[in-house]
Amino acid sequence: MATDLEAPVEGPRPGADEAEVELLGVTRTFGPVTALDGVTLRAARHEVVAVVGASGSGKSTLLELVCGLQAPDAGSVRAARAVLMPQRDQLLPWLDALGNAALPLRLQGVGKAQARERAHALLREVGLAGFERAKVYELSGGMRQRVAFARTLLAGAPVLCLDEPFGALDAITRAELHGWLTEVLAREPRTVLLVTHDVEEAAVLADRVVVLSPRPGRVVAEIAVETPRPRPATADEVVAVRARALEALAAAGGEAGGAREAGGEPG
Amino acid sequence: GAKDETPDGTPKTERLTLVLDYFPNADHAGIYAAQAAGFFRQAGLDVDIQVPGDPAAPTKLVQARKADIAISYEPEVLLARDKGAAVVSFGALVQKPLTSLMSLPSGRVRGPEDLKGRTVGTAGIPYQSAYLKTILKQAGVGEGSVKEVNVGFNLVPAMLSKRVDATLGAFWNYEGVQLRREGKHPRIVRMEDAGVPAYNELVFIAERDTLRERGDVLRRFLQAVGRGHKLLREDPAKGVEPLLKANKDLDRGLQLAAVKATLPVFFPENGKPFGWQDLDAWKAYGDWMVENDLLKRAPTPTALTNEFVPGQGI
C-alpha cells in the first residue's frame, strides 16, 4: 500500500538513543485513587513502546501526562510534541468524516481544499473511501476509530500516543492496519506510545512492551522485542512476548482488574 | 440683531426644536395649524416637533438644552425650578386645568361629597394626589374614608372595569369628551371648581439662557402659535386638519370634538393676548404647592414671563 501522508514530522533529529519521552517517578492521584505510582518510562527516538495493563491501571492517564493534558502529582514528565489519539474517538459532530480527519491540518493553517485532499487520501488508506462526507453518527464504531486514527497521523507530531487505536476493529481490518502502520513508520519513523489490550498487537508492533500493574499502576515488566518489523503474529518471538506479557499481567494481580485491592478506593 | 437678517431684510430661518408634552393630540391642533398655514415660516422659524417618552422628559431635555423649547405643565415647571432647574414658562398653551375628577354612572359619584367610603383611582403623580386631598377637604369628606389606588396610565379602564368608583387625573377635554361620545355619560368635576387653585395646564418652557439669547425667536414663535389658534377658533373643522394629516392614527371625530371643547381655554379671559399667564394665579398655585409640601420654597416670580407674549415686552 502506498501512502501520501506527507505530514511534516518536526523537531530536531538528535541521536536515536536520546529519549524523546521520559517519565521519571511519576505519580498521579485522583482524590483517593492513585492511578499511577512512581512510573519511570523512557521511549527513545522512533521507538515503539506498547503499554499493557489491567483496566483502570492508568494507561490513559499515562498518555495524557505525556501529551501535557494532565500534570503529575510527583515526578517529572518530559516529551517532544506528542499528539494523543483518545480512547473514545472524540470526533466533532459538527464536522463530517473528512473534516474530522483534516482538523489538525486546518489547525496548522493548511487551506481547506488542500487539507481535505490530504485527509481524503489517508481515509482511503484506512478503508473509508466513500465515507468522506458521512456525518459522525452515520459511522460505525470501527469507522469512527479509523477516522480518529487518520486525524492523529495527520497532526504530524514526532510522538504519537495511541490509546487503543484498533480496539473497535475486526481481526482482518486490524491486521491490515498493523501492516500499513508498520510501513508508514518504516518510511517516516515516529516515536509511538501504544496502549492496547491486545498483547499480540503489542508484540507485533512494539519494540518494547511495558506491563503496568493494576491500580495503582507501576511498571512491573519490560519486554524487548528484537525481531524487526514487519513481524507476523505467528513469529516465534511474537508468540513468546505475548506469553510473557500475559504472564506478567496475570502475575501483577489480574483479579477482575485489581479493583478490590485494599486502600486507594474513592470514598 | 442685524446678523440674523439676510441682506434683503427678511429674517433668516431659524431652527427650533419643540418637544411636546405627550403624543400629538387635540391640545396641539393649533401648533400644527400654524405649521401648516406657514405661520412659522413667515416668522422665519423652522419648527421641529418631537414627541417625548414620559411627561417629565420635556423639562429635562430643555434643561439640558437638547431641545430649545417644550410643552410642560405649570406644576412640573415649579417642581423643576424647586429642584434647581433654570426653566421658565414663557407662555401658556392651555389656560386652565384639564385634569379632572371623573366617574361613570356605575360609580354613583355625582360630586366630591359622594366620595366618602369610595375608591378613587389616580395616576400616581404626587401633586394630583394632593388635589384629591384638597378636594376632599373642601367637600368635607374625611381623607381616611376614601381609598386611593394608583392605576397608572389606566384611568379609563379602571372606571370601565368598575374596580374604582372615580378617577382623578383624566383630562376633561380628551378622555371626558371621548367617553361622552361613546355614550358612557361621564360625570366630570374640574379642579378649579372643586377647590384646587387654577393653573395653566400646558405651558411653553425654555431654559433661562435661551430666553436671554433667543428672545425674539420665542416671541415670533408665540405669535405664530397664537395665529394658528385663531385659525383654529375660526374654523375648528378645518383647523384640526393639519394635526390629523401629520398623525394618521388620530380619530377625526374625537379630535374635532376635543378641539371644540378645548377652544375656550386656549385663550385667556379678559382679552389678554394668546399665551398670557396670570401672575396672581401662578402665585396662588405656588403657595398651594408649598402648603401641600410639594415644594420646599415658595416659587419666585421669575418662574414665568409674559415678555414674549404677543404685544408684550419691547
Partner: protein
C-alpha cells in the same frame, strides 16, 4: 390541521367570552371586532408595521452582534466576566423611562435611540445562552483540540463556537420574540410613527379594537421572526437536530 382547529377553538372561546358582556368592549374587544379593525385600518397598520419592523430587524441585528461579541469576550476573560457580567445583569433591571432622556441626549431623536433600546432589551438572552453554551464544551473536546495543537482562538473556532451555536440560537429566539415589544417600548419613549406609537394613540382614544389589531400585527411579526430563526437553526446546526424516535 388539528393545530389550526385548536387555534380556531381558542378564538371562538374568546369571542364568546367577549360577547357574553363579561367585560366592557373597551377593555376586551371580540376577535371579530379586532378583525374588522385589522381590515379597516390595514393601510395604517401596514405603514406603521414597516417602521416597527425596521426597528426590530436592525435592533435585533445589533443585539445579535453585540450579544455574541460580549458573550465571547466574557468567555475569554474571567476577569471581564466577574467585573462586567453583573453589570449586564443589572442593566436588565433598568426601566427604559430612566434612560430614555439620556438616549435622546446621546443619540438624538431619529431611529438610533430606538435601535439602542431594542438592542438593550434583546442582547441579554443572547449573552446568557451563548455564554452558557460556550462553557458547555466537554473537557474531552478541549483536550482533543489541545493535543492537536489548537490555539485558544482555534479551540473557540472549532469546538466552542459550534458547541454553543444551538444554545445561542435559543437565546436569539427569545430575543426575536421580545424584539417587537422592545420596539414598542422604544416608540413609547418618543416617536412619530410605528405600531407602538399607534398603540399609544389608540388607547387614550379608546380605539381598543385598533389597539388590539396593532397587537395582533406585532404578534404576527414576532411569530414570523421566530419561525425564520427556527428554520435557520436547522440549517446552521444540523448536528443538533437529528431525527429522534422517542419512545412511543
Amino acid at each position: 390541521m388539528l393545530a389550526a382547529l385548536l387555534f380556531l377553538l381558542l378564538l371562538g372561546a374568546w369571542e364568546l367570552y367577549a360577547r357574553a358582556g363579561n367585560v366592557d368592549d373597551f377593555i376586551l374587544p371580540a376577535p371579530t371586532e379586532v378583525g374588522r379593525a385589522l381590515y379597516d385600518d390595514r393601510g395604517l397598520l401596514w405603514d406603521n408595521l414597516l417602521v416597527t419592523a425596521q426597528e426590530v430587524v436592525l435592533g435585533l441585528a445589533l443585539a445579535l452582534v453585540v450579544g455574541a461579541a460580549l458573550a465571547i469576550a466574557l468567555h475569554f476573560s474571567p476577569l471581564l466576566r466577574r467585573a462586567v457580567y453583573p453589570l449586564l445583569v443589572g442593566s436588565q433591571a433598568i426601566p427604559i423611562v430612566t434612560v430614555a432622556p439620556l438616549l435622546v441626549v446621546w443619540f438624538g431623536y431619529g431611529i438610533l435611540p430606538k435601535l439602542v433600546i431594542v438592542a438593550l432589551v434583546c442582547f441579554f438572552p443572547i449573552v446568557v445562552t451563548t455564554l452558557d453554551g460556550l462553557r458547555s464544551v466537554e473537557p474531552e473536546q478541549h483536550k482533543l483540540l489541545r493535543t492537536l495543537g489548537a490555539s485558544r482562538w482555534q479551540a473557540f473556532r472549532w469546538a466552542e463556537a459550534p458547541a454553543a451555536l444551538p444554545a445561542a440560537l435559543s437565546g436569539a429566539k427569545i430575543a426575536v420574540a421580545v424584539g417587537g415589544i422592545a420596539a414598542v417600548f422604544a416608540e413609547y419613549a418618543g416617536s412619530e410613527d410605528g405600531l407602538g406609537h399607534l398603540l399609544l394613540q389608540a388607547i387614550p382614544q379608546l380605539e381598543t379594537p385598533r389597539a388590539w389589531a396593532a397587537v395582533v400585527v406585532l404578534a404576527a411579526l414576532a411569530v414570523c421572526c421566530f419561525a425564520l430563526l427556527a428554520l435557520a437553526e436547522r440549517r446552521l446546526a444540523p448536528w443538533a437536530h437529528r431525527r429522534k424516535d422517542p419512545i412511543p
